[in-house]
């Protein structure tokens, strides 16, 4: 009898990816850690421009971005991402954001969801999996 939870899954199983952008590397490390059991591939970067490159990968279906980052804010980043890949699901995950800008972006469908830090990673994972399964069942 084993009291053992095996929750890592092979990356090669995943056909969907989520890209996370945050200027705080520790937050990205945390995301990698807690999403190991997720049924999607986790990509992370602290560089907003790099995030846009990742978006072009076919597997990337969701982008989760911080709001305040050096040189660019999350809404600006997601505006570019929308232009590059309109069907990308776009989420802002932030502890402090300009609420007016976010409201506007939600209205214009630049941002699909606005999540507030700190958030429970298990909840975030469930949410992302739900979005992905909805997207992939279409």
């Amino acid at each position: 009898m084993r009291y053992f939870t095996l929750w890592a899954k092979k990356m090669s199983d995943h056909h969907s990816s989520v890209i996370f952008v945050d200027d705080e590397a520790n937050i990205l490390k945390t995301i990698i850690r807690s999403m190991r059991s997720a049924n999607f591939k986790v990509l992370t970067t602290t560089e907003p421009t790099e995030a846009l490159k990742f978006c072009l990968l076919e597997s990337v279906q969701i982008i989760v971005s911080d709001f305040r980052m050096p040189g660019i804010n999350g809404v600006e980043l997601l505006t570019s991402a929308k232009q590059l890949k309109p069907d990308l699901h776009r989420i802002i995950l932030s502890g402090l954001a300009d609420e007016n800008l976010i409201d506007e972006a939600l209205k214009n469908e630049v941002v699909h969801q606005y999540l507030v830090k700190p958030i429970k990673m298990t909840e975030l994972q469930t949410l992302l999996e739900t979005i992905l399964s909805a997207k992939n069942s279409v």
Binding site: M1, R2, Y3, F4, T5, L6, W7, A8, E24, N26, I27, K29, T30, I31, R33, S34, R68, M69, P70, G71, G95, L96, K117, P118, I119, K120, M121, T122
Partner: protein
């Protein structure tokens, strides 16, 4: 009776009971008068305003032929009771009353004649009937005191005290009256000066308090400006601390599971080796657990530093000067402002070792936070802030806060340190930041100056003395 009049009387009472120098001066006046009038005893009564009625109150000031004596309240209350022998006057009667002398029309003395246990012959130009009762000390017949002369002392049109002279003879000579008038004037003058000074002290005290409150509220206002940023600075580490702790729980579950299965009596050693997947998982957990704890601790330290910075900044007990390191205070301020600075400017610090200074850390942090915040706000999209500290002379520390922001218009430069001057949009600046910073730096014996070029940037230069305390 209005309150200000009550306050006035209580102020006089305080003066006559608390201020030693003043009491001595009054004692001398009374003694001069007593001697000149050849009186047996001189005494000062003050007036206490109780409700509508003024009441005479014995002060501690008594002079008698021979030596002057000061009676404490205990002796006075003893007098009003049985031990009247303490004084040369045995028929001491204590009567509370309203004074007819509270509004003398001729400004002159009032003589009260005493005959045995009865007061007669009240001299008053108004011709009013004497009140039936007086707080009077009736002299002993054996001392042959016939007259008590009461000299009202005015201040701001009110009788505030009465000098009493107990005199054997009723012969008044004009020169005596002249001296009495003169002394009364002196008395009045010093009383007036004294109350005026007390009022000035009150005003200064009130101004000081107002200033302290102003500094405090400006501090709170700038705290409000940075509060959202500080919250974000705390929230970021908090979010990975939270998540890492959750993960740590998972890791422990994994490890506990493995250990339990290995040491369980049901599974003999070596009987059930861990699968390859399980081994990989454990290896991952063991490799990740230490860095994860390190990251979590780093996050906790960051939160701790911010909270300490906030505490130093908002310190309300900043009433005692302390030895402080200005470099440390600058670092603290920068930690508080990290969220304001990091997204649009690079902050360079060139902090040379400088001696500690004697100062108020919270106030100095207020100045530094203010100057850095101004620099950040001067930078529109991205820029550089440079903060330098150095020892300019062995007694002077020089701090420079430079930015390459939009600069200040020449016509605004001269108004920069004026209270309520602001170029920021309504609601985003109190207009007090720089004027209060100026006040704080000046209070520390330093100076603050500014040079700026439109479109190129601004430099605030703060000097603070660090020499030995003079």
């Amino acid at each position: 009776m209005n309150t200000s009049k009550d306050q006035f009387f209580s102020k006089i009472l305080n003066l006559l009971s608390a201020d030693e120098v003043f009491i001595n001066a009054i004692k001398i006046y009374t003694e001069i008068l007593r001697e000149h009038c050849d009186a047996e005893l001189g005494h000062i009564l003050t007036i206490k305003q109780t409700g509508e009625q003024p009441t005479l109150v014995s002060s501690r000031i008594w002079c008698s032929r021979g030596a002057s004596l000061t009676l404490g309240t205990e002796e006075l209350s003893a007098l009003t009771n049985q031990n009247r022998e303490l004084l040369p006057f045995k028929n001491f009667i204590s009567v509370t009353d309203q004074l007819s002398i509270n509004e003398p029309t001729d400004n002159s003395f009032i003589a009260l004649m005493a005959e045995e246990s009865q007061l007669t012959n009240f001299r008053n130009n108004s011709g009013a009937e004497p009140p039936t009762e007086y707080p009077r000390y009736l002299p002993l017949k054996s001392t042959e005191i016939e007259n008590i002369f009461s000299l009202p002392i005015h201040s701001e049109g009110l009788v505030v005290a009465v000098i009493e002279l107990f005199i054997k003879t009723s012969h008044w000579t004009p020169d005596r009256k002249g001296l009495i008038d003169f002394t009364a004037k002196l008395f009045e003058q010093s009383l007036n000066n004294k109350t005026r000074r007390a009022e000035q002290d009150d005003t200064i005290q009130a101004l000081r308090m107002a200033q302290t409150q102003l500094i405090q509220s400006e501090k709170m206002a700038s705290l409000g400006t940075v509060a959202a940023g500080v919250a974000h600075e705390i929230n970021n580490p908090l979010s990975f601390i939270l998540s890492n702790t959750e993960t740590l729980g998972q890791y422990i579950k994994t490890l506990t599971g493995a250990i339990t299965s290995l040491i369980s009596p049901n599974s003999p050693p070596g009987a059930k080796p861990l699968s390859r997947e399980e081994q990989e998982e454990i290896t991952y957990v063991l490799n990740d657990i230490n860095p994860m704890i390190a990251e979590t601790l780093e996050g906790i330290m960051r939160v701790r530093e911010i909270v300490q910075g906030l505490k130093a900044f908002s310190r309300a007990d900043d009433s005692i000067q302390k030895r402080v390191s200005v470099n440390e205070l600058i670092e603290n301020s920068l930690k508080l402002l990290a969220n304001e600075t990091k997204y649009k400017c690079k902050v360079h610090t060139v902090l040379e070792p400088v001696p500690e200074i004697l100062g108020f850390p919270g106030q100095l942090m207020q100045v530094f936070t203010n100057l850095v915040l101004n620099s950040v706000q001067a930078i529109e999209k991205s820029g550089v802030i440079t903060i330098r500290s150095r020892l300019r002379t062995p007694e002077t520390i020089e701090l420079r806060f430079e930015d390459n922001g939009k600069g200040i218009a020449p016509e605004d430069l001269e108004n920069l340190f004026l209270p309520f001057f602001t170029t920021k949009p309504v609601g985003s600046g109190t207009g007090l930041g720089l004027s209060i910073s100026y006040g704080i730096v000046r209070n520390h014996g330093g100076s603050i100056s500014v040079t700026s070029t439109l479109g190129e940037g601004t430099c605030f230069c703060v000097t603070l003395p660090c020499g030995p305390k003079k």
